[in-house]
Symmetry: C2
Subunit: 275 residues, 2 copies
Amino acid sequence: MMPTDTKRSIFFVSDHTGLTVEALGHSLMARFEELSVRYETVPFINSTSKARELLQRVNQAALQDGKRPIVFSSITNPEILAILNSANARVLDLFKTYLAELEQELGQASSSRVGRYHGIVDLARYQQRMQAIDFALATDDGIGLSNYQDADIVLVGVSRAGKTPTCLYLGMQYGIRAANYPLADDDFERLALPEELVPFHNQLFGLTIDPLRLQQIRQERKPNSYYASLKQCEFEVKQAEKLFASKGIRFLNVTASSIEEITAGIMQMAGLERG
Amino acid sequence: MMPTDTKRSIFFVSDHTGLTVEALGHSLMARFEELSVRYETVPFINSTSKARELLQRVNQAALQDGKRPIVFSSITNPEILAILNSANARVLDLFKTYLAELEQELGQASSSRVGRYHGIVDLARYQQRMQAIDFALATDDGIGLSNYQDADIVLVGVSRAGKTPTCLYLGMQYGIRAANYPLADDDFERLALPEELVPFHNQLFGLTIDPLRLQQIRQERKPNSYYASLKQCEFEVKQAEKLFASKGIRFLNVTASSIEEITAGIMQMAGLERG
């Protein structure tokens, strides 16, 4: 008997890292509710022998699941694609339609031998991203003040509002040099910016967060501490937001947002361009 | 007179972060050679008024460039899309074709009100990614050995081979807990693993790099030092590779690879699955 209520297999297949096909495939799948699926990313399918191995696995998944898999593909090599297309699966070729349209619009043939988006296409730009990661590490949590003059942006906010991963992602994804500085009790009492930040007023950007969420995060870090108490979280958030408002510092509430959403929001609000 | 040899404008338009449409758009554009274009990402186009503002900018770019822009769009709201489609531009709708195909295959209508791939769709999974970033920071460069027991992978290699950004990206993109430990003179002389790493033999993964490239990187860091000399770089890389081979440690040469390529390669070679 065929199994009937197992998960359906979804493959993201690429001849390179698979990041693009994963992003588009997941974005599309996210538009459907209550799916019972399992995802698998298969990168570096850059030879017919690898494609034939994959073909077997896809066909086996079809048998095991009792449903044909869905294969999202960004393969452009016709020989490799032909093997994939022979699978007992619904193959969605993410490149074909658009490459044809772009060839027409740009008036030139596409080539699979040119650069790849997730490779080192532009060395200077790639190095800028790597240097921006170094920069974020060297200026994390108020350290490395002597480097702040090179900052594209300086994030401020209460402890555990998500400043560090935001700075790292700004560097990694956008090549933006982001420093971060924690606001502390002294700043809240005085309702003034730390002296050190005054020269960087134009680079400042605030992160704020719902006090209840902040409490949860701090509770995991330092259970039952004063630092993690709701009272303290409420006080700090209220004072931080007052400070942002009084100093004209743009800020974003990150409570319900992912790092990707926070950084895209900062890029837009601060008018930053990819480094 | 119309300008004729200016850059053509390419817009990546999204009602959310724009990361997916950027990735696919850039991947497609990377297949064309010698383009004279300028890119602009426009996230959060989630209202008709924002769409109308954008429409004006796209039409203005068409006039200024003397060529109609290309607009990559992942907008699904029909009203917003209609405004975009009225632009003097070639609009490539990256979702339409595939959503229709998926609706047919999955037997259900798609909805724009469900989760977004770059949002916090799955809180547990999102927190795992954030914790993996914390883990990478807490176990960077040989620190935090007491946490190594929770590592999915431990990267080893010479100083400046790219271990730190690789660990951060493994956490950020894949939710993988990656520690890293530098190999040093003592290890090269003895041709043995640091004692501390012996219990984690199964998690070890090596990074290696071309000595000439390593010299360039170190030279930027510590100009004209012994550490940055070609002789020292050659010695360290040779010994590190010997060590990997003699201990059966899988390794990857990162010289010509981006962080995205390195991490996708590690995920595959080490048989890791997204956290």
